[in-house]
């Protein structure tokens, strides 16, 4: 691990100020992803600003929904009685990811900002445009069975691997932040992550130094909710594909550089299409690469099953 300096932020304003003033700084909360990458020297921050102890871990009722503090742990959110009762898709998605030890440490904002698990991002002997902009992408011609089928570019075919974020997108969550100039702003979570384009190392629309302070859930949509995930082991493995259903909303995981809102499928469902027809509409826009062709029938079956399950739960 490269040397770095460390500070524990006094409050959110101080954290943002430190981030602006200190070159090469990063926020750290749970650290379960960042420290892993620092050990591999894929991440090498010069300064860490610990925001894990800031008073941003409460889960509060807000305007008929919930405001979840950015530093709340994944376990805390999954176990919250209000989340389990009104947003079961979120609780199910969280417990489908990582291990209990990781979920006990990982924060909500850290989960959103976790880096991809693309094997070529992790292998520092191979070129990767995320690690080293302009180096090229070894995954394009490599072992890419877990690559994106939506929204990829010739510069990057990596996927976003969060389970939690898929459920949050289906629930139309919003993100609250503190900007580098110290102002609060809020925007839909769907607008947090970017598609790779020519700059896959820029993964979000956050301004450098901007701090996520909370995730806000609107009241749950009408209708049932369900989360389904497929992976190579029964537990504690990154996903190949996942589906979150919340009423008429549908989001897909591990198929794109960001949690993928399946708007074509939603539109078809709204006009009375069957679940299978609806997801087929969405998958018409997919661009598989050969080794990951299997994700097309996988997502089709997974989404059909998840929509069916959500509808049974409504009844």
């Amino acid at each position: 691990m490269r040397p770095f300096t460390y500070e524990r932020a006094k409050d959110a304003q101080a954290a943002v100020k430190a981030a602006v003033e200190t070159p090469g700084s990063r926020f750290i909360a749970g650290g379960t992803n960042l420290l892993d990458l620092m050990k591999l020297e894929i991440e090498a921050p010069q300064h860490l600003i610990d925001v894990g102890r800031l008073p941003m871990s409460a889960i509060e009722d807000a305007d008929g929904g919930l405001r979840i503090g950015a530093a709340a742990t994944n376990s805390q959110v999954a176990a919250d009685p209000r989340v389990r009762a009104r947003y079961p898709v979120l609780s199910e998605a969280i417990v489908a990811g990582g291990s209990p030890q990781l979920r006990n440490k990982a924060s909500v904002a850290g989960n959103l900002l976790q880096r991809t698990r693309c094997a070529y991002f992790y292998d520092t002997s191979k070129p990767c445009n995320k690690r080293q902009p302009g180096a090229g992408c070894a995954a394009l011609e490599g072992l890419n069975r877990n690559a994106a089928i939506f929204g990829a570019s010739h510069a990057c075919i990596a996927t976003h691997t969060s389970d939690m974020a898929v459920a949050l997108v289906a629930l139309e969550a919003r993100v609250e932040t503190l900007t580098p100039s110290g102002e609060a702003r809020a925007f839909p979570l769907l607008e947090l992550h970017r598609l790779p384009g020519e700059t896959p190392h820029v993964e979000t629309h956050l301004i450098p130094g901007e701090l996520i302070t909370a995730v806000v859930l609107p009241p749950p949509p009408k209708g049932g909710q369900a989360y389904r995930k497929v992976r190579d082991r029964a537990s504690y493995a990154g996903g190949l594909a996942s589906v979150a259903v919340a009423g008429g909303n549908l989001a897909l995981g591990m198929v794109a550089h960001k949690p993928w809102r399946a708007v074509e499928a939603e539109a078809a469902l709204a006009t009375g299409a069957s679940p299978a027809e609806a997801i087929a509409n969405e998958l018409e826009g997919a661009s598989p690469l050969g080794r990951n062709d299997f994700k097309i029938p996988l997502v089709a079956r997974l989404a059909t099953a998840a929509i069916g399950e959500a509808r049974e739960r409504t009844a």
């Binding site: 209990p100 006990n104 739960r313």
Partner: protein, 167 residues
Amino acid sequence: MRTTITVNGEARSLDLDPRTTLLDALREHLKLTGAKKGCDHGQCGACTVLVNGVRINSCLSLAVAHDGDEVVSIEGVGTVEKLHPVQQAFLTHDAFQCGYCTPGQICSTLGMLQELEAGWPSQETPPGSKPAFTDAEIRERMSGNICRCSAYPQIVAAIKQAAETLA
């Protein structure tokens, strides 16, 4: 950086490079070698300890971030003269072969039983229900602790017996 952590009930003050993980602070600085370094990437669970009562991977945590925290490692769980019921159950059921993962398995079990008691869900828990104490729940909740000798059936048996003893 000056860092004070209460380890197994005793306040320990250390001067640490910020890069030091909690696991290395325990093993290399405090010579508490019970928690093991298996993968050092949060994948195997051999480094599991309890921090403020909650199980975490100590390899994926900076020691300086735990200033003021209370840590329990396997050395604080029982004594040779008086084993903790979970330790005794692992012996009774022969729930290990080489023993390398065992300190992590036992600390993880302690955290897991509290999580279960508190009603925290796992992916085996039916939506809206309280988790039941089934083999499937135990296996799922212990999936962050790998045992390469594959003593899993005995580990499940030991955990079931320990839970009965503790109840």
